[in-house]
């Protein structure tokens, strides 16, 4: 790495460690001759284009990755016909979707029906704006970045509702209602989980949170594991991934809010869903796994590659849960949210506040205090999880999963009673 002089490339446009350089140079060049507003607009455009240029191909690869990984879970090969190792399969799918006829139900509310596939992209793309790919590499490093993330992701649900309602289809309406109910419920534990980080690190800027982790040499998943778990589950609920994919539960309501969308309109929903999964993975990596920072490795490897690697790990975890777990029912999800996640995250907000106050007022040495707090918080998390497991396993679930084997007795009710009494005696 140090084979060439770093000082030569530092800040030059071809310094690929910081992708911001290019846009900064262009902006400075425009600022030399153009008005202010032009350079702001150009900066925005460049950022959006850069993000689009990154996530467009990434999405195509991600579709392939997801299908391939799921196929491996299911002991299949997955796509392997189009292109090398099936890599061009998503392209072929996209071409197919574009060529398909765009159907609209006759009784649909036309305008509201046509808008959602386009509008759904807006929050999906806006969220990327506050994601720091490196120390200075985010399109807009807002000082309320965390709030911005929550606000923008919250508006997506409105689009889902528009899609479901305008389709004039009962499945779609059910999907939309479920999506909305889920989304506004799971936003609460999501906010609370992020609030622990905000309270503890004392900043609402996303990059600030990463810098705090870098400064204190600790990642938040060690300090606040329960917030990480809650955020992961709430995020997978908001993303409609199993076990919380009730708003597009295939076995119940066909495809939920996008039942009536065909062709590329469906393709857009699908792409945004994948893109949201990716961006939420990236935010989980940023908030809880240190983002672009990795104990000094970011000095040697471009920061955005570190972030992508962490994102990939979280994304794999999301695929894993999807490939393994069945789906919960809506009332079960709701009671899990309100009875388990919200109280637990609320308690951890208080814990974070207390620990932060202690750190600030007592002036403790963070290198000693933080590991102790981490141990305490991990113990608390384990306790909370075990308490939940104990409480949630009701009497019904605690009964053993077993069958009684009957060898010599055949019959009806009398035999059933006999078998039951023998099985009961044998316990």
């Amino acid at each position: 790495m140090s084979g060439f002089d770093l000082a030569v490339v530092l800040g030059a446009w071809y310094d690929f460690r910081d992708l911001n350089n290019l846009s900064r140079l262009i902006t400075e060049w425009i600022a030399d001759w153009g008005p202010d507003w032009l350079s702001s607009i150009v900066t925005g455009l460049l950022g959006s284009l850069g993000i689009l240029a990154v996530i467009g191909p990434t999405l195509l690869v991600l579709i392939w990755v997801e299908r391939k990984v799921i196929a491996r879970f299911q002991q299949r090969y997955g796509p392997n016909r189009v292109g090398p190792k099936g890599l061009l399969q998503p392209v072929a799918d996209a071409i197919k979707l574009i060529l398909k006829e765009q159907l609209a139900p006759r009784a649909a509310d036309k305008l509201i029906f046509f808008l959602p596939p386009v509008l759904i992209f807006v929050p999906g793309l806006l969220i990327w704006g506050v994601l720091p790919f490196g120390p200075r590499m985010s399109v807009a490093d807002l000082n309320v970045g965390v709030l911005f993330l929550l606000a923008v992701s919250g508006t997506g649900v409105l689009v889902l509702f528009m899609a479901g309602w305008s389709s004039n289809n009962k499945y779609a309406l059910f999907g939309a209602m479920r999506a909305v109910a889920m989304s506004i419920s799971y936003e609460v534990p999501m906010v609370l989980a992020l609030l622990t980080l905000v309270v503890f690190s004392g900043t609402m800027s996303v990059n600030g949170i990463v810098e705090w982790q870098q400064q204190e040499d600790v990642i938040f998943i060690l300090l606040f594991p329960l917030s990480a778990i809650a955020f992961f589950f709430a995020a997978s609920a908001e993303l409609n991934r199993t076990p919380a994919d009730i708003s597009e539960a295939e076995s119940e309501i066909v495809a939920g809010y996008h039942t009536e969308y065909s062709g590329m309109r469906f393709g857009l929903f699908y792409a945004v869903e994948l893109g949201n999964t990716l961006v939420i993975s990236a935010f989980i990596a940023t908030f809880f796994l240190g983002g672009w920072w990795l104990w000094g490795l970011d000095q040697w490897v471009p920061s955005w590659i570190i972030l992508l690697a962490k994102t990939g790990a979280v994304y794999f975890l999301l695929i894993w849960t999807r490939g393994t777990l069945p789906r919960l029912r809506i009332d079960q999800l709701m009671s899990f949210c309100w009875k388990a996640l919200v109280p637990a995250t609320l308690i951890f907000v208080a814990v974070a506040a207390v620990e932060r106050t202690l750190l600030v007022t007592q002036g403790w040495d963070t290198t000693i205090a933080l590991p102790i707090m981490a141990v305490i918080n991990i113990a608390l998390t384990l306790g909370a999880v075990m308490l939940f497991a104990r409480l949630a396993r009701s009497e019904r679930l605690r009964r053993p999963a077993r069958t009684t084997l009957v060898r010599d007795r055949v019959g009806g009710l009398a035999a059933a009673r006999e078998v039951a009494s023998q099985a009961g005696g044998g316990d």
Binding site: D245, T324, T403
Partner: protein, 385 residues
């Protein structure tokens, strides 16, 4: 029976009060084109929010009038129809029909034929239960993973069918008086390796599914039916056994020499969807037990009795039944002395097991209704015939 009557009247009373207060119940058609109805089955559910108030099934989309067609064909020509009745358990259907025809004709099946029939009936049970359990977990919302696991085993069974009779799904293998072909040489080694592998596989499925908290939450206490109600509704097979009633025709009315094999009847405790799943898992193990006893003890000799192709049974009637993977599968044949049956009736377990579907679904959520339907393990070909 009075208790069930009371329940029904109480339920209908509740529905009236629910509908009377100005809320709008939603009628949702599940099917005939729906991912969870396993074919062209239509369930019309009336929902209050997510709670099912009424469930009514509409069937007949796959009606092929087999009972009428069979009256025009000879007894042997009718065997392929039975494949298509329950296309997921073709061997069992062949067997039940041949048993009824043999009862009419008074034919004795040679011992080798009997053993081969048991072998394939049990293999068919393994394949059918693999399908049933896989799709059941799918209906609970798993993303196809358990389904594909269980399909691997089903594929191996179907491979064995293919090497024996050339067909994988609609086998047309049994004949009146035995089976159509002898076992090929490569079958028994294949079967042995299958039997060697299966315990590990079943153990892995149990690891994956038995203690799965989400599966428990979804299937425990859902679609509960009492043994009294189950018997009164003529439910049979794993659904009846899941309520705790040890009723298995292989034990109660042994056919094809089932009395010579050692196996147990698995019964459940609560009669809910999860128990049905458990009973099916346990039945697979029992089938493997039977196959293990069978594999080294297949007698030599002919596999098909000498029955004329255009057999003319004497006037009379016969009702023969077997324990198919779905329950009591019976064939009622009436002969008027001609080469074709005068009346050909199939007692379809899938259809009759749906008798209590409405009672099981009402009061639960829409998702529960889907799980209940999945746990009943319907085959639309058999429902509609």
């Amino acid at each position: 029976m009075t208790s069930a009557d009371d329940t029904r009247s109480a339920l209908s009373g509740t529905i009236e009060t629910l509908a009377g207060d100005g809320s709008e119940p939603v009628v949702v058609n599940l099917g005939p084109q729906h991912p969870s109805t396993h074919g062209v089955f239509r369930l019309k559910v009336t929902l209050d929010g997510e709670i099912v108030q009424d469930a009514e099934m509409r069937i007949g989309y796959l009606h092929r009038s087999m009972e009428k067609l069979a009256e025009e064909r000879t007894y042997t020509q009718n065997i392929p129809f039975t494949d298509r009745i329950d296309y997921l358990a073709a061997m069992s259907n062949n067997l039940a029909y041949c048993l009824a025809a043999e009862e009419l004709l008074g034919v004795e099946v040679p011992p080798r034929g009997q053993a081969i029939r048991v072998l394939f009936a049990e293999l068919q049970r393994v394949a059918s239960h693999a399908m049933a359990n896989g799709t059941f977990i799918n209906d609970c919302g798993a993303w196809h993973t358990p389904l594909f696991y269980m399909f691997r085993d089903r594929e191996r069974v179907l491979d064995m069918f293919e090497m024996t009779c050339g067909a994988r799904l609609t086998t047309n293998y049994m004949r009146i008086g035995g089976v159509a072909f002898d076992l090929p040489d490569e079958l028994l080694p294949t079967l042995r390796s299958f039997l060697d592998d299966m315990p590990d596989r079943i153990a892995s499925y149990e690891d994956l599914l038995m203690e799965n908290e989400i599966l428990h939450a979804r299937a425990r206490g859902i679609g509960v039916i009492s043994p009294e109600m189950a018997i009164n509704s003529s439910l049979s097979g794993p659904i009846l056994r899941a309520t705790g009633v040890p009723w298995d025709l292989r034990k109660a009315n042994p056919y094809c020499g089932y009395e010579n094999y050692e196996f147990d009847i698995p019964v459940g405790e609560q009669g809910d969807c999860f128990d049905r799943f458990l009973v099916r898992m346990a039945e697979v193990k029992q089938s493997l037990r039977i196959l293990n006893q069978l594999i080294d003890n297949i007698p030599d000799g002919p596999w098909l009795a000498d029955v004329p192709l255009h057999a003319r049974p004497p006037e009379g009637e016969a009702y023969a039944r077997v324990e198919s993977p779905r329950g009591e599968l019976g064939f009622y044949l009436v002969s008027d002395g001609s080469p074709a049956p005068y009346r050909f009736h199939c007692r379809p377990p899938s259809l009759i097991n749906l008798s209590a579907l409405k009672e099981m679904s009402i009061g639960g959520t829409l998702a529960d209704a889907i799980v209940t339907l999945g746990s009943i393990d319907i085959v639309v070909g058999e429902i509609d015939r």
